[in-house]
């Protein structure tokens, strides 16, 4: 074998697996998106062109555009809070003389280590549930009426956000903590000699120094947040246990159209649109992603 064909031979099995199991279903989804396939047309579907895309993009009532706007709001709010709070916590973790730092770090890591679906279900039942949940229990102790946390759109949205932040903080804090540790202490010493206060040191040294290190992690977390499915689905959309809140993100919306209302062609069109959005976004952030690899 020559030098050109040998690497292809080595990666052939992997590429076949990926081609058949990942690429082909995506292409098939693209094909389905051009048809009227649904529960009545399981076999006798026909090509209807771009009608599904038209419905998604130009009929506001279809629900895709509101879901997209909601997803963008969800991503922005989550990321801003996540980055700001993680930064503060990471700086505090690195306070001089904090002997128990590693102990705190270990405790902070639990939400990351737990299986996500378990955490979400524990939050849903243990914290937000209107009868069993701790929140309503505490309200009761204050002689306040119980609240159906997951029923209203606004409150359900913020409950989901709380869970997402809870699960996402550990990774961000640890990433920032690692970045802060890589800063040469000499910068701070000379800054102190120059008379710089804590705030100045934070904004002029810590922040700019860790930015290149944490930027790829932030970009990747942004994608993860945009694609988040489990929280909204498990908290509010479970079949048979819907809470009444409509806080669909694009992904839970696509899922519902396929697996609950059985509108396969339309759902496939939504999927392709989401993929297109992700591709455009990742072209914008091409470099940071490449740097970080497939994490």
């Amino acid at each position: 074998m020559n030098k050109q064909s040998r690497p292809w031979a080595y990666s052939f099995p992997a590429l076949v697996v990926i081609g058949l199991i990942v690429l082909f279903p995506i292409l098939y989804t693209g094909y389905i998106s051009l048809t009227n396939m649904n529960v009545y047309h399981w076999f006798n579907f026909r090509i209807i062109g771009l009608q599904n895309y038209g419905k998604a993009l130009f009929v506001f009532d279809s629900g895709f555009l509101p879901a997209l706007l909601r997803t963008i709001l969800w991503t922005v709010l989550n990321m801003v809070i996540q980055v700001a709070v993680s930064f503060l916590l990471a700086v505090l973790l690195n306070s001089e003389g904090l002997v128990l730092k590693n102990f705190y770090k270990t405790l902070l890591m639990f939400p990351w280590a737990m299986p996500a679906y378990v955490s979400i279900l524990l939050w849903r039942l243990g914290i937000f549930n209107s009868q069993l949940g701790l929140l309503n229990h505490w309200l009761g102790l204050l002689h306040l009426a119980p609240v159906n946390w997951l029923n209203g759109n606004v409150s359900a949205f913020f409950c989901c956000m709380a869970v997402n932040l809870w699960m996402a903080f550990p990774f961000m804090i640890l990433t920032m903590d690692g970045a802060i540790q890589s800063i040469d202490k000499a910068y701070y010493e000379s800054a102190v000699l120059e008379g710089a206060g804590t705030f100045t040191r934070m904004t002029r040294i810590t922040f700019p120094m860790i930015r290149p290190i944490v930027a790829p992690a932030i970009v990747l977390t942004t994608f993860v947040t945009f694609k988040q499915f489990d929280i909204v689905f498990l908290m509010t959309q479970q079949p048979g246990a819907k809470t009444g809140a409509d806080i669909h993100t694009v992904i839970t919306y696509a899922y519902e159209k396929a697996f609950l209302t059985n509108n396969y062609g339309y759902s496939a069109a939504i999927s392709i649109l989401i993929f297109a959005i992700i591709i455009v976004l990742s072209l914008l952030y091409r470099n940071p992603i490449r740097k970080e690899g497939a994490q």
């Binding site: 030098k3 050109q4 040998r6 690497p7 292809w8 080595y10 990666s11 099995p13 992997a14 697996v17 990926i18 058949l20 199991i21 990942v22 690429l23 279903p25 098939y28 989804t29 916590l89 505090l92 003389g97 904090l98 128990l100 705190y104 405790l107 902070l108 639990f110 939400p111 280590a113 737990m114 299986p115 996500a116 679906y117 378990v118 524990l122 939050w123 039942l125 243990g126 914290i127 069993l132 701790l134 229990h137 809870w166 640890l174 701070y188 790829p216 499915f229 079949p239 048979g240 992904i251 396929a258 759902s267 989401i274 993929f275 992700i278 490449r290 740097k291 690899g293 497939a294 994490q295």
Partner: protein
């Protein structure tokens, strides 16, 4: 840094208190579930919330382990995860090696396309996969589910291990080649031993993601005796949530325990095994 010792002491005490409160608050959902699962009195709220159950019992755990199909679900999960790990890794190790060591036409384009494919949320092609598997009669079979899991995990493993291979100096292999070793010998005697940390970490990450998946499991498996832990737990909470809250807490903590143990055991490895992934392109 020169600081007033009294001020310093106060500041450290405040920081410590702050972190104790934060850590405890962060653990509330887990601690509460733990407390509920260990509490003998069934009315959760008769004596209010406390982290220590008033009447201690292991009854919920016993009944999860012996009266529920928990052990069967766990066996199913281990089986699925093991097959997925073996298949995903055996196809992606040679591929990762090829993409790290050889420079060939189409290399960086392929790598980038793989990343794009990985960016596609697998839930969105789930229906297409379901339809394809149904055509082949593989819905509600482990083969089908292993196929589904293997696909996504292969891209992840390939990229993850390629990054680590990049950090192993190529000089070692060149020296072996001069000594007359062929590709196969180099991979078996030099690359694999050196790459052991990344192979272990990647295997564990694949294992954990199969362990933690519920959405494919509940859609592709339809009979309860085939369920994985995640699918079983999902059904447990979906069907009889309020009555079985203590039981569900016990089951979900038991299902999380192996993941927690593994996570903390390899956590050091994970940081080096992962972050080294992107150092060299």
């Amino acid at each position: 840094m020169i600081q007033n010792p009294r001020k310093r002491f106060l500041r450290l005490t405040a920081t410590n208190l702050f972190f104790l409160v934060i850590c405890l608050a962060g653990l509330v959902p887990i601690l509460y579930a733990l407390s509920v699962s260990l509490n003998a009195t069934n009315s959760v709220f008769s004596e209010g919330f406390s982290l220590l159950p008033s009447q201690f019992t292991f009854q919920n755990y016993r009944s999860v382990l012996f009266n529920q199909p928990f052990l069967l679900w766990m066996r199913n999960t281990v089986l699925l995860a093991a097959f997925t790990v073996v298949i995903a890794l055996s196809v992606s190790v040679p591929a990762a090696y090829a993409f790290s060591r050889f420079r060939f036409r189409g290399r960086s384009t392929t790598l980038y396309l793989l990343l794009l494919l990985n960016a596609f949320p697998s839930i969105l092609s789930m229906f297409a996969l379901y339809r394809l598997l149904r055509l082949m009669g593989m819905v509600n079979t482990y083969t089908g589910l292993v196929i589904v899991y293997t696909g996504g995990m292969t891209i992840f493993s390939l990229w993850n291990m390629k990054g680590y291979f990049d950090t192993i100096p190529v000089e070692i292999e060149q020296a072996a080649r001069i000594d007359g070793a062929d590709d196969f010998q180099i991979i078996r005697k030099i690359v694999l031993p050196l790459a052991k940390p990344t192979i272990i970490v990647t295997a564990i990450l694949v294992l954990i993601s199969v362990w933690n998946d519920y959405i494919f499991a509940i859609n592709f498996l339809s009979t309860a005796d085939k369920y994985t832990l995640a699918a079983g737990l999902y059904t447990l909470q979906a069907t009889e949530q309020t009555r079985n809250w203590p039981l569900f807490s016990a089951a979900s903590l038991l299902a999380s325990l192996p993941v927690l143990v593994i996570f903390f055991a390899v956590q050091k490895y994970m940081q080096s095994g992962l972050t080294s992934g992107g150092v060299k392109e």
